[in-house]
């Protein structure tokens, strides 16, 4: 470019003309622009760095939070595992399939000896109750009827052997309602399975369960055969009322 005063050629960035010493307005303007640009650049750079640093801090904090949450979950899980009773249900289910022949033979022996309550405990403790293995298909009817019989007999036992201490917890109402509920279930399952084609082998035992339950009611509810029959014909609620009368002497 040329100097505005002397007309000599000068560089664009030269602030003064080297020939006449006149100011170069383009260079001055350029210098000012560069200074402003540098300031803005520094400001932006600082802002970016500041933002990056604060975002970095937030990231670290977020990571700490995630680690603490995961740590809390893991410690809670370990703690609850240590306090829980480890259920070996899966092992039992596998064994029920693996040893089905042995288990079935032992069960049949218990049933033949009339140890029906034992047989149900055996089925629960050996994973047979919930096993879908076909080896136990034949037992299905017996299993359903006997498990209701088991509940009924357990309730009668608990009613008979409950505490006579008036200061102690009185569970009689709970036992009576539980008994009446399972008695209804028993009668329904008995009707279905007593003559079902799929459990012919166990028919005599299913009938024995029914007869034994009637006998137990007769003995412990102080009823003769007709009274048991009459009791069985009552509704669930009426049965409960009747038992309340018997045991509370109302």
């Amino acid at each position: 470019m040329l100097c505005e005063k002397c007309g000599h050629k000068i560089g664009v960035e030269e602030l003064k003309c080297p020939h006449c010493g006149a100011d170069n307005p383009f260079a001055l303007q350029h210098e000012q622009s560069m200074q402003q640009y540098d300031k803005r650049f520094d400001k932006t750079g600082k802002g970016v760095l500041e933002r990056a640093r604060s975002m970095g801090e937030l990231g670290v904090k977020a990571a700490v939070i995630v680690i603490l949450i995961i740590g809390s979950i893991i410690t809670s899980l370990i703690e609850s595992y240590n306090y829980s009773d480890h259920d070996d249900r899966d092992t039992r289910s596998r064994d029920a399939v693996k040893y089905s022949q042995e288990y079935k033979a032992e069960l049949d022996e218990l049933i033949e000896n009339g140890e029906y309550m034992e047989s149900i405990s055996y089925m629960y403790s050996h994973g047979i109750m919930n096993s879908g293995d076909e080896a136990y298909d034949e037992l299905r009817g017996y299993k359903y009827v006997a498990s209701d019989y088991y509940e009924c007999m357990q309730y009668i036992e608990e009613i008979v052997l409950r505490s006579d201490n008036e200061e102690y917890f009185d569970h009689l109402d709970t036992y009576i309602s539980g008994f009446c509920m399972y008695l209804e279930d028993f009668r329904e399952t008995y009707e279905v399975w007593a003559e079902s084609d799929s459990s012919v082998k166990y028919h005599p035992y299913i009938q024995d369960l029914e007869s034994e339950l009637r006998t137990a009611m007769g003995v412990y509810f102080s009823m003769d055969e007709d009274e048991v029959e009459e009791f069985l014909s009552l509704s669930e609620a009426a049965k409960a009322v009747k038992l309340e009368e018997v045991f509370r002497h109302e």
Partner: protein
């Protein structure tokens, strides 16, 4: 206050709360290892004996039988600390069933029951007095 600062404060509060939770969880977890180790069986046995003694004091045989039935759903044989509960409940059950078999006139089962009752009676040890008490309750109700 800009968003970053608000977020910062919230995160600090969260870190403090989570640190406290984590610390307590850690303490409880260490304690749970002690329980899972040598103390579990002893503690269960101590607790069971205490509960059973209390139930016996109140002649609450129903509760003992309930424990027996529940435990036998997973273990036919008594686990550590439950042998007395099993013996007492089994005696109660046999005494109960004897009356049912007597009413049925099933002599084979009565004989089997009597034999088993005698065997259980021998295992009752210092609780042998319960056999008379249970027989008394059953006789009283069934007669």
């Amino acid at each position: 206050m800009n968003k970053t600062k608000v977020l910062n404060v919230i995160m600090m509060i969260a870190i403090v709360i989570l640190s406290v939770v984590f610390f307590f969880n850690l303490v409880f977890m260490v304690d749970s290892f002690k329980y899972a180790g040598e103390r579990r069986e002893e503690k269960a046995a101590e607790d069971e004996t205490m509960v059973m003694e209390y139930e016996l004091e109140n002649r609450a045989y129903d509760e003992i039988m309930n424990t027996w039935y529940v435990k036998r759903m997973s273990d036919m044989e008594p686990v550590h600390g439950y042998s007395n509960t099993y013996n007492i409940a089994e005696y109660c059950h046999l005494a109960f069933m004897t009356k049912v078999y007597e009413a049925e006139g099933n002599t084979d089962r009565i004989r089997l029951c009597d034999e088993r009752k005698e065997a259980v009676k021998e295992k009752l040890g210092r609780y042998s007095y319960i056999s008379d008490e249970v027989d008394g309750i059953i006789d009283n109700l069934s007669d």
